[in-house]
């Protein structure tokens, strides 16, 4: 099963070098283990936008689109046997934040890819 991990921190601020290094090692291990198939950093939520439809009306919440330089979250695509494996991987990943960037808060969202005809 393929999973998308979407990591969104609660506060703006780049990861510490220690956290970056720990994440790099984990990503390297996961690539070599054949589980991690794609990954990348994301810019702060505030610099993006949300386009919504509610009550039949389309609305846009637009970020300031400032020239942000700081990556504060990211995504990863994993191939794993099932949700339990995805949970185990996500917990290990989030534990790194706990260990290497005290005070960090945020969410790692797991979404399974749909497979086969919709």
């Amino acid at each position: 099963m393929r999973f998308m991990f979407l990591v969104t921190p609660a506060h703006v601020g780049p990861p510490t070098p220690e956290l970056m290094e720990a994440m790099r090692k984990l990503a390297d291990r996961e690539i070599k283990a054949g589980r991690l198939i794609d990954t990348g950093g994301l810019m702060p939520l505030a610099t993006g936008a949300q386009v919504r439809i509610t009550d039949g009306r389309l609305s846009v919440v637009d970020g300031p689109f400032v020239e942000a330089k700081e990556v504060v979250g990211g995504y990863a695509i994993f191939e794993l046997p099932g949700k339990e494996e995805a949970l185990a991987a996500a917990k290990e990943f989030m534990q790194l934040h706990k260990d290497h960037m005290p005070g960090w808060e945020g969410v790692c969202e797991l979404r399974a890819f749909a497979s086969g005809p919709p």
Partner: protein, 444 residues
């Protein structure tokens, strides 16, 4: 202040308590962690003990301990470190016992001290580059002295972390049969002194073929599984793909490893399109190509490109991958580059002598150059003993004869093919083709 900010919902909090977790669910979660950690556990222990089968036994004991304890205590914060510490303790005990019997383990004991001083935590585990050790493990599990079936079982157990029961279900065999196979294979390795060795240089490429063969066997076992089979069967494709990715990561200079990975990724990219909602198979040329997995095709093409860069374009796996790539890159069936496929089959036939490859080449030639050239190839295969009883030979022949307007011969060929067809669906299809040819014969 921090405590007030950490807000865990009631549902989340509940799921942490063992009572809310059924034992079965807890076991699934533990096995999930196990699959992530196991290669590093075995490789670390194998390094201490210089014995892969023994290392595997002791890591299994660590798993059993976790399965016993964690449902009650909850999963520890750093489960990998916990498993590593437990497994190493077992290894230390084992070595101590051995040392009391014969005091010749000075060297090992020295290693042991070093190992013990570096008590494992998550970060030091991440620092370990286990590439070489993992390669050793894979080469040991897939030793050519073992049968292909034994290699497959050992690889799934030691590299993918599948349990004996899971392997048995995947191969539709009783668990006792798989357990015996594993025990026997491990004994063979231990008794013949093959329990811990890494081939290097030329020997590595040679031995690699015995590994690739097993990975491809596992892949095909999963690929031929039908929808509705136990989910573990198709899962074998994913395990084989994962092993292929591991191999290309730790032996990046071996073109055939990339070739096999490309072949598997490209074949697996069609999974969603291969069956209809009733589970009936759909032939490749009739598949809905929108359902082909483009991410997987990209990965397959990358691996194939890598195999070619390394000078391996002419390898058996790379050639097969290049053939599948022709299909993967055609946006409609009509766009297929059949003459390239025919050429690739000719190259493949030159290195792998197989009448089935010749038959496939005939089909491609038929599409590229027309039925006459193809029929010449097929007619040469009619006396081939290996194809005697193979229904696709008269089936392809019938198809070509029909296109040439030789309807009576086509009818006879389809009739012969129907009589040989193993499954009902194919049998019915071939009988219909025979009837169509017969009708065409009378009206012409």
């Amino acid at each position: 202040m921090r405590a007030s900010r950490v807000c865990i919902g009631p549902a989340l909090r509940l799921s942490r308590r063992p009572a809310a977790m059924t034992v079965a669910r807890a076991h699934r979660a533990i096995l999930a962690i196990w699959r992530i950690e196991q290669p590093r556990l075995i490789t670390s222990l194998a390094r201490m003990l210089r014995d892969v089968p023994l290392a595997e036994d002791l890591t299994q004991e660590a798993l059993v301990t976790a399965l016993e304890r964690w449902p009650a205590t909850g999963v520890p914060e750093k489960p990998g470190a916990w498993l590593m510490a437990t497994a190493k303790r077992r290894a230390v005990d084992h070595l101590r016992r051995g040392r009391m019997l014969e005091r010749k383990h000075e060297l090992v004991a020295w290693d042991l001290e070093a190992e013990q001083q570096a008590m494992p935590d998550l970060d030091s585990a991440l620092d370990d580059d286990i590439g070489d050790e993992l390669l050793r493990l894979i080469f040991t599990a897939c030793h050519p002295r073992l049968s292909r079936e034994a290699r497959a079982a050992l690889a799934l157990r030691m590299i993918c972390g599948l349990t004996t029961e899971e392997i048995a279900r995947a191969f539709l065999l009783p668990a006792t049969a798989i357990a015996q196979r594993i025990v026997r294979a491990k004994r063979t390795l231990s008794e013949s002194g093959l329990a811990y060795e890494t081939p290097r240089g030329e020997q590595l490429s040679e031995r690699l073929s015995s590994v690739l063969e097993v990975v491809y066997l596992i892949f095909n076992e999963g690929y031929t599984a039908a929808r509705g089979d136990d989910w573990l069967r198709p899962q074998l494709c994913d395990e084989a793909l994962r092993m292929g990715r591991v191999l290309t990561a730790i032996a990046p200079h071996e073109p055939e490893a990339h070739g096999l990975l490309a072949l598997m990724e490209l074949n697996a990219s069609r999974t969603a399109a291969r069956t209809d909602t009733a589970g009936e198979p759909i032939l490749m040329l009739e598949q809905n190509r929108a359902l082909w997995d483009q991410l997987q095709i990209r990965r397959g093409m990358q691996a194939l490109g890598r195999a070619c860069e390394l000078g391996g374009a002419g390898g058996a796996y790379a050639l097969q991958a290049a053939i599948v790539a022709c299909h993967a890159q055609a946006s409609t069936a009509a766009d297929t580059d059949w003459s390239r496929i025919a050429g690739l089959y000719a190259e493949l036939a030159a290195i792998v002598h197989s009448p089935i490859i010749d038959l496939n080449r005939a089909v491609a030639v038929g599409m590229a150059e027309g039925p006459e050239a193809a029929l010449a190839i097929v007619d040469r295969l009619v006396c081939e003993p290996a194809l005697k009883g193979y229904h696709l030979l008269p089936s392809v022949r019938g198809h070509l004869l029909h296109r040439l307007g030789r309807y009576e011969e086509a009818c006879a060929a389809f009739g012969a093919a129907a009589a040989l067809a193993g499954n009902r669906r194919e049998h019915d299809l071939l009988r219909r083709r025979a009837a169509e040819a017969a009708a065409a014969a009378t009206s012409s």
